[in-house]
């Protein structure tokens, strides 16, 4: 029988088995969340029974929880039964050439300086033989395999590396952690798994771009990165090109684990669709990201530039359990028009001689609201803990808001915790001052913003730093005057 017919047959038989109404689309689950849907997702991913059980357990936990509402953000209530939790990865119809691409999209690529090959891929144009991305990715994979590095989708990892998954998945962010983590644990469909074996320094920066079969980013991504003793990896997430998605809610979970002397550097550049000028239709980015410095002398750094999403709600955090471990958080969060952000970090000091650094830069423009919420917690046994936090806010114009909610909880008298905060405003006066020195308004805004964000740009991986600067410029276009 033909391939197509076989697929139809399988699917219709499955449908019958699961008792769905027969007239649904073949590659999309009906809206709603219940045990059947979860089993359906698990089956689609060919998961072993133990994984299905984990999902169901998380789902039961979720049912007992209430959606949190303490953040300084407003959004219409989400109806969790009106979301479809599974959609087969459909390759978008390929266009034949760049001429068929929306000119506005091309203009954005130009402004962001995105390399030509990437533009083609992002625009959905069939990549031609000259820029053979498949062979590039293949060579990449071979290099990694030689070092014993595993870099694959989380689904592949569940199937091919069950021991590692059983050992580490949920060890940093258990399903019971919070409402969205529970939901994610029940219904996640995609994400990355990275494993760096003992003593290996990953020779290149890992980026989701190079994962073969990288599908359209799922709503509920689950990522797990494990760095064994004496290893190192730098991971880049996201891209500067504006990403649209018909799914409004994105609730991802990212877990990082470092063993003795290991280091993970996790960098994010996020430019999800922020909604139109009236603030409608943007993406909600609710993420739980946490790193566990299990081993002595280990280090986890979070570096991020967030300019998109209608709502950003995330606190990449570090649990500093290992002695002498280090946690770092460098962030630039930009909000414009009607965007809202309630973001920050948590540094939990548990072991001795632990250190953490927090540098957070918030820029608000338009009518947006940007809040920093941070926790520095020093446990009873955390001898000699050190923390330095700097939260700077910049307001562009006078219709936006910037708020800071720093929490400091210290239970050990040997701790040294420093906190600095500044707020500055960029107004017409400053722009005119720079104009009168021969600098035009767009350049003036960029100069001011770049000066403000310098400390964070300096720690971004180089390619990201350049893209991030351009991204900031594009995000703040027209924000003053």
């Amino acid at each position: 029988m033909s391939e197509d017919m076989k697929v139809v047959e399988d699917l219709t038989q499955s449908e019958y088995k699961w008792g769905f109404v027969t007239d649904i689309e073949m590659d999309k689950a009906p809206n709603g969340l219940n045990e059947e849907i979860i089993r359906f997702i698990s089956a689609k991913k060919n998961e072993p029974e133990w994984m299905t059980e984990l999902r169901l357990k998380a789902y039961k936990t979720w049912l007992k929880m209430a959606e949190p509402d303490w953040a300084k953000i407003n959004y219409p209530k989400i109806d969790f039964q009106e979301i479809s939790y599974y959609a087969a990865p459909v390759k978008k119809p390929l266009l034949n050439s760049m001429d068929e691409v929306d000119p506005a999209l091309l203009e954005t690529f130009e402004k962001l300086g995105i390399p030509l090959a990437e533009r083609q891929r992002l625009a959905g144009v069939a990549v031609d033989a000259v820029f053979d991305s498949v062979s590039v990715a293949t060579t990449f994979r071979e290099t990694l395999a030689k070092e014993g590095i595993i870099f694959c989708s989380i689904s592949e990892a569940i199937r091919n590396h069950p021991d590692l998954i059983k050992k580490y998945l949920g060890s940093v962010v258990p399903a019971t952690d919070n409402y969205f983590a529970a939901l994610n644990s029940a219904v996640f469909t995609d994400g990355s798994f990275v494993f760096i074996p003992k003593g290996v320094r990953c020779p290149m920066e890992l980026s989701t771009y190079f994962r073969i079969n990288a599908e359209n980013t799922g709503q509920f991504e689950r990522t797990l990165i494990v760095a064994e003793d004496d290893s190192y990896v730098s991971y880049l997430e996201g891209c500067t090109a504006p990403m649209r998605d018909s799914n409004q809610l994105h609730a991802a979970v990212v877990e990082l684990v470092t063993l003795e002397n290991a280091e993970i550097k996790y960098s994010t550049v996020q430019n999800w669709y922020p909604g139109d000028k009236e603030g409608k239709g943007g993406i909600y980015n609710f993420v739980t990201k946490r790193g566990m410095c299990r081993g002595k002398n280990s280090k986890i750094s979070w570096t991020q530039v967030e300019t998109g999403s209608a709502i950003t709600w995330k606190y990449p955090s570090c649990v500093l359990a290992g002695e002498n471990s280090i946690g770092e958080f460098y962030s630039i969060a930009v909000t414009n028009n009607f965007q809202q952000a309630d973001t920050g970090t948590k540094m939990i000091h548990i072991g001795k001689n632990t250190r953490s650094t927090i540098i957070s830069k918030g820029i608000s423009a338009g009518k947006s609201n940007n809040s920093y919420r941070g926790l520095v917690k020093i446990g009873k046994k955390a001898e000699n803990a050190r923390n330095f936090s700097q939260c700077d806010s910049m307001l562009m114009g006078d219709k936006c808001g910037a708020h800071t909610f720093p929490y400091i909880e210290v239970e050990n008298p040997s701790a040294k915790v420093e906190h600095e905060a500044t707020t500055s405003k960029v107004g017409e006066d400053q722009i005119f001052y720079l104009n009168s020195r021969g600098i035009d308004t767009e350049d003036a805004v960029n100069m001011i913003v770049n000066g403000f964000c310098k400390e964070v740009f300096n720690v971004l991986p180089m390619e990201f730093a350049v893209e991030a600067q351009k991204l900031l410029a594009v995000s703040l276009e027209g924000s003053v005057g």
Binding site: T422, S424, E428, D429, Q430, F432, Y433, L434, N435, S436, R437, G438, I439, D440, T441, D443, M447, I448, V449, N450, G451, F452, K454
Partner: protein, 254 residues
């Protein structure tokens, strides 16, 4: 170099300048004096292109250009410089970055290459010395944490670094003690040449002892009531502004 014809300007709908006529040639220093509210600062701001001030009538010609057609940044690139009465702070941008960017914008406009880092540093040191400002300010944020006097000196440092053709100094002397006044004046005098011109807006005659003007104009109620040489300033110091107003009233009633 600069020709102002029948200039009328207002702020937030309120007329301030009511018909200014003024000509400034290369090599000249013109002082504008007048009581509070006369429009002195307005004149300086209108010339530099501040959007808060609207020109309602009249023309301004600068080096053959219709100045009203030029944006503030273009005026700066054409060699117009305003030393602000109240310089703003710009945290995050160092003095060095500001100056280097400004210098290069002007050079680019004139078809020149960027200034080399070595030349830039040497120039900063040279001009900084004239004004008694040391190396540490190179990397400090523009005017951040500067005292009033330091801000004014920083404006003059920028003047010396940018080497404009027309310098508009808006009450540069206000808030300065005698020593600072002398230093700033030395700076301005080192700038003066036969190729550039200075428009000096000031309240008190004292500054004019150090920066000796070629022409003095008295601005009152939006108009230039009297023009003269440097002796006019001394007379004002002596007698105040009233006698000029009275003379004007007398002329009007004739």
């Amino acid at each position: 170099m600069l020709k102002i014809v029948n200039l009328h300007a207002e702020v937030e709908g309120k007329p301030i300048l009511k018909g200014i006529n003024l000509e400034i040639n290369k090599g000249e220093v013109h002082a504008i004096m007048g009581p509070n509210g006369s429009g002195k600062s307005t004149l300086a701001n209108v010339l530099s292109g501040n959007e808060n001030y609207q020109v309602t009538e009249g023309e301004i010609w600068y080096e053959g250009h219709n100045m009203l057609d030029l944006s503030p940044e273009d005026r700066a690139r054409e060699g117009v410089f305003l030393a602000f009465q109240y310089p703003v702070e710009i945290p995050g941008i160092s003095n060095a970055t500001l100056l280097k960017t400004a210098i290069n914008e002007i050079r680019k406009h004139n078809g020149m290459d960027d200034i080399s880092p070595k030349d830039f540093l040497a120039k900063m040191r040279e001009k900084g010395q004239i004004l008694g400002m040391n190396d540490s300010l190179i990397n400090r944020s523009v005017n951040s944490g500067f005292s009033g006097g330091e801000k004014k000196r920083n404006e003059i440092l920028q003047l010396l670094m940018l080497e404009p053709k027309l310098a508009l100094l808006d009450e540069t002397d206000s808030g300065l003690d005698i020593d600072a006044l002398k230093i700033v004046s030395t700076g301005v005098n080192s700038f003066r040449s036969s190729e550039n011109a200075v428009l000096l807006v000031t309240h008190y005659q004292r500054l004019l002892n150090y920066i000796v003007p070629d022409f003095v104009h008295v601005l009152s109620n939006g108009k230039i009531l009297k023009s003269g040489g440097k002796e006019l300033a001394l007379k004002l110091e002596d007698q105040g502004y009233d006698w000029i107003n009275k003379a004007e009233l007398e002329t009007e009633s004739v």
